[in-house]
Amino acid sequence: MRTRSLVGVFVLLGFLTFFPSGWVQAQTIKIGINAELTGDIPKVGEGTKFAAQMWLEDVKAAGGLAVGGKKYPVELVIEDNESKAESAVKAATKMITEDGVLVMVGPQASKQAVPAGGIANNYKTPMITPWSTNPDTTKDRPFVFRACFLDPFQGPVLANFITQEFKFTKAAVLYDVASDYPKGLAEFFKKAWEGLHGPGSVVAYESFTTKDTDFSSQLTKINNSGAQVLFTPQYYNEVALIVQQAHQLGWKKPIVGSDSWGSAETVSLCGKDCYGLFFSTHYAAAGATGATKAFIDRYQKKHGYVPDDVAALTWDAMLLVQKAIEDTGGLTGDLKKDRENVRSAMGRITKFKGITGEMTFSGGGDPSKCAVIVRISDKGQFEFYKSACP
């Protein structure tokens, strides 16, 4: 009996020796996608994943990524960070040390992107976050980049726009106190507005907490504060509720938003209430032309809805990554060196024509790019209204 089992083990071992094993494959370029697939903002993760997969399709159709005259197959390592900081850190560590990714794209939300950026920088792996606007994400981290503009830029753009367009002097702000993006933007807007119109010109500065759905108390205050315009840098799901409730409480003045409004769902959730409102964003879907339009149409055809800003920014981030890899002029096969090369290539990218605008990295990880002011038309489409550049 014992001999038989021993023979069995050896047969199995022998069989495994001839097993078609994976270590003799060509060098592949691995790109990590660290996305919020579950948790608070699954929609963001979905957009990230879909955009990245579309990019992969293109690369596959081209037969791989051509670097220095050689074509490399590309593989995506997609990890879910559950919208939790510790999970994002674990996922980042795993894809960097275990899977050996060349570049990491994501996480999107700052809550995840700030700690994950620390990891990427420690391991000297380039990371690009398409969506995180927190200054801490890239601050003092040479290996961390982002594809979006920052709050200190967007806040003044909006303040100037409202001042020039409507000639208003009193504004109200409603934002989510528990979420860093709205809070940051609200603060920069307030600062810029008060710089233009003097202290006290933000007559109501109200907040709520993530997942709240009733804003009636805050809106009542705003209504009675004498504000001429309401600025609310919220995500699209809250935008629908805020705008509708404001109208139900008798608010008839303009409401202005930020790039987080830039989702197809803003209009589908909000309906007629949102028509005619303005917001600043990266690109305008309705007036889109060229590559932007091609991307939107393709995405819509494939997934059944117009991509939001996360998907568009992720697409741009993927293209930035591709450009940086191509610009290295050839991979050495030594992951450490290649990562350094990609990092310096990315830092040199200038006048990159992304679908969300032209980007230039001047040394740091933050691109300088233009913002677009969009008007929601009477058909519910995002129409280009004006652009503002730094």
């Binding site: 199995l12 510790e86 674990k90 700030v114 700690p115 927190n134």
Partner: protein
């Protein structure tokens, strides 16, 4: 085992042979298992990579190959074989071979004071973890976070298991500890903006880090007063919502504190919470909590849980007992929070919300109430499961809850509930076969 042929007598024989194979292992002291494990991890360190490549795995499967298996089912036999060759067989063989030796050493160690014996075992355990984790930084990170989860689970078990309350404020305590420790380390050692005082030299940092952690724990204890004092007059469900309200309050408070940067979070904590530090703190935590629950006050906790009035009649000072338990549990939650902040090197009030609460509660009740063993098992298994099932993406959060429900249905008090952790019993040598073999 080659004997399984479906034949009744044969399988009976196989079973008895298995029993015979297992029999010597009943005499293995803990030390022997540690030896075996050390051999296995050393083997992995030396021969892991070539073996993994030989078996067609690109690298050493990092968490026993779960993610490889889930991503590429074709490789399942290879992973199993790898696990057997690296972990299974060497552990079994080495443990079997060193039974007499291990018993001898254990017996001689046992003559020393308990502290020495325990320290020797812990040193060996650390060596195993260290060698195992050295393979990859990912393992180190997972290990550190798992150890922190052990601390959290244990400290919650003091309140929810031993005292029988349903406290929902644990993430709140953790947040207090995390923020306090972070403010101290960042403010004193990293930049002067936060506290407005001159920075201390960074070289002093690692020595003062424990002080920061303890202060974090004390702040968490202070916060626990807000839950502990109402607990004098009420308990059970009412206390549960008091603790829940406390959690909401802490989160809202931090979101509004501009000097810790509100919802934007605090980043840039120095990287002092490395594996030895976390391990040391976890050991301290397990040791002190184990002693605590085995002391008279621990027994008083059980008495309060089982019948408060009777306990009062039996001269148990219920107020003092409750107060001590809350402060003690919160202290360790705060320390765990401080370590967490320094492992992540970033804290954000959003880290300490209801999601976090559900996770810690799950670990406590999965592992087992009223048991130090249980908490360790619960925290380790849920943390590792969460990592291992990563490739399933969304479905991970269907599988893990299902598993927990099954455990709850079949073992309602958790996997290992109501078991004392008797260190002496655990570490003692087992020279003779105990009982009938």
């Amino acid at each position: 085992m080659g004997g399984e042929r479906g034949n009744g007598a044969n399988s009976e024989r196989g079973r008895s042979r298995f029993r015979n194979l297992w029999k010597p292992y009943s005499r293995v002291p803990l030390l022997g298992w540690f030896f075996g494990a050390l051999v296995a991890v050393t083997l992995e360190r030396l021969a892991g990579t070539p073996l993994a490549q030989f078996l067609g795995l690109q690298k050493i499967p990092v968490l026993f190959g779960f993610s490889v298996m889930l991503k590429n089912p074709v490789l399942i036999p290879n992973v199993i074989l790898y696990t057997l060759i690296i972990y299974g067989v060497p552990t079994a063989v080495a443990t079997r071979l060193c039974i007499p030796l291990a018993n001898g050493i254990a017996a001689s160690l046992f003559r020393f004071p308990m502290a020495v014996t325990a320290a020797a075992h812990l040193a060996l355990l650390y060596a195993i973890l260290h060698v195992w984790a050295e393979i990859s930084d990912y393992r180190v990170l997972v290990l550190r976070l798992t150890l922190i989860a052990v601390m959290l689970t244990l400290s919650l078990n003091v309140i929810n298991g031993y005292m029988g309350e349903f406290s929902c404020s644990h993430p709140g305590f953790m947040a207090l500890g995390a923020y306090c420790a972070s403010v101290l380390t960042i403010g004193l050692f990293v930049n002067a903006q936060l506290l407005g005082t001159a920075s201390l030299p960074a070289a002093l940092g690692p020595f003062l880090f424990p002080v920061a952690l303890i202060l974090g724990g004390l702040v968490a204890s202070f916060g626990a007063l807000f839950v502990a004092i109402p607990s004098f007059r009420t308990r059970g469900d009412y206390l549960a919502i008091i603790s829940l309200a406390f959690l909401f309050i802490v989160k809202s408070l931090i979101e509004n504190l501009e000097f810790v940067r509100g919802p934007r979070g605090l980043s840039g904590q120095p990287d002092w919470a490395d594996l030895p530090t976390v391990f040391l703190w976890t050991v301290l935590c397990v040791w002190s909590i184990n002693n605590f629950v085995r002391s008279t006050i621990g027994k008083a906790l059980n008495a309060v849980r089982d019948n408060e009035m009777a306990a009062d009649a039996m001269t148990v000072d219920t107020r003092r007992t409750k107060m001590v338990a809350f402060l003690f549990g919160a202290f360790w939650a705060g320390v765990a929070g401080g370590l967490f902040a320094h492992v992540m090197r970033y804290v954000n009030p959003g880290n300490f919300g209801i999601q976090n609460l559900a996770e810690v509660l799950a670990m406590v009740y999965f592992g087992g109430l009223n048991s130090v063993y249980g908490s360790i098992v619960g925290a380790v298994s849920i943390s590792l499961l969460g990592e291992a099932l990563r490739p399933l993406e969304i479905f991970k959060w269907i599988i893990i809850p299902l598993l927990l429900i099954l455990v709850m249905i079949f073992r309602p008090t958790g996997l290992i509930a109501f078991r004392d952790l008797d260190v002496a019993n655990l570490l003692k040598p087992k020279p003779k076969p105990d009982g009938e073999g």
